[in-house]
Amino acid sequence: MVTQITSFGRSGLYDWMMQRVSAVVLSLYTVFIIGYLLLNPDLTYDQWSALFEATWMRIFSLMVLLSIGMHSWIGLWSISTDYIKATGARFFFQSLCGLVMFVYIVWGVQVLWGL
């Protein structure tokens, strides 16, 4: 019934589903990293570096990066539509969030893949 929408997927269901799926990915990654650190108390640089060299870890990490981007965009979009009532300010905030999300993803890929 609200037809003009600038949210992530432009559909309530899609946003809601992505929010939940990305939350699961983020929690799995968190549990994995904490578990890995606990199981390897004498972690060396080589071991840590080898972990992030592995293809499956790169896929997992990229998935997490994209999930952070999506999750935060959907969340912050919701917050801005709740609390920022002035259209100009809201648009500016949403654009800024979009930009920051994009920067973090590109930067994160660079860091994780050692490009």
Binding site: M1, L13, Y14, S78, T81, D82
Partner: protein, 234 residues
């Protein structure tokens, strides 16, 4: 007992204020909040509030009693008093007409949006549209809503977006018609709700469940609407 009432008469007052009344309650009886208001009204006829059936059926006297929304007529004073004081305010989030009387226009507009009536294009049968007892059972916990607005005005999502978010009360009714075996507009109804505001602005904090004077569960109904949308889309 000390009763503090939200007073605002737009014709006379620049701003709303709280007025304190000291009232002697009959001993040995636990009055309802509405009875206290009636006693006060006899003292000060300028106090305004809505009431009608005085037994929790009409939904007119929804108000905020010491911080919690409810119907004044079925809320015992002993339950509503906090620290020896009864604080009465209008339902939060809706424009105040006067004292405890709010403008329910926005609330009704959302109710109207979900088309709260049976839609069935098939020609009406001679006697009635039959339903099995199991199909009828699905409407229990949905049809009992009296539209008192206690739930929607306890919902922060409704406070921030009363024009876009349908609110717990409207969504409970939306599901009441989605779940009705006699209704044939299920797909159109679902399409109308699939935007980021109408249903999905609900974050499941369950304030609505906490205050509903009829003990209904709008959060569960909203969850069911989500499931229906998900089943349709995947």
């Amino acid at each position: 007992m000390l009763v503090s009432i939200y007073r605002y008469n737009p014709e006379k007052d620049d701003a709303p204020y709280m007025q304190d009344y000291d009232i002697e309650l009959p001993a040995g009886k636990d009055l309802m909040v509405l009875d206290v208001l009636n006693l006060l009204k006899a003292q000060d006829p300028s106090i305004s509030y809505r009431r009608s059936c005085r037994e929790g059926v009409c939904g007119s006297d929804g108000m905020n009693m010491s911080g919690k929304n409810g119907l004044a007529c079925i809320t015992p004073v002993s339950e509503a008093v906090k620290k020896g004081k009864l604080v009465l305010r209008p339902l939060p989030g809706l424009p105040v007409v006067r004292d405890l009387v709010v403008d329910m226009g926005q609330f009704y507009k959302q109710y109207e949006k979900i088309r709260p009536f049976l839609i069935n294009d098939a020609p009406a049968p001679a006697i009635e549209r039959l339903q099995s007892p199991e199909e009828r059972e699905k409407l229990d916990g949905l049809y009992e809503c009296i539209l008192c607005a206690c739930c929607s005005t306890a919902c922060p999502s409704f406070w921030w977006n009363p024009d876009k978010f349908v609110g717990p009360s409207g969504l409970l009714q939306a599901y009441r018609f989605l779940a009705d075996s006699r209704d044939t507009a299920t797909q159109e109804r679902l399409s109308d709700l699939d935007d980021p505001f109408s249903v999905f602005r609900c974050h499941g904090i369950m304030n609505c469940v906490n205050v509903c004077p009829k003990g209904l569960n709008p959060t569960k109904a909203i969850g069911n609407i989500r499931t229906m949308l998900l089943q349709r889309a995947t």
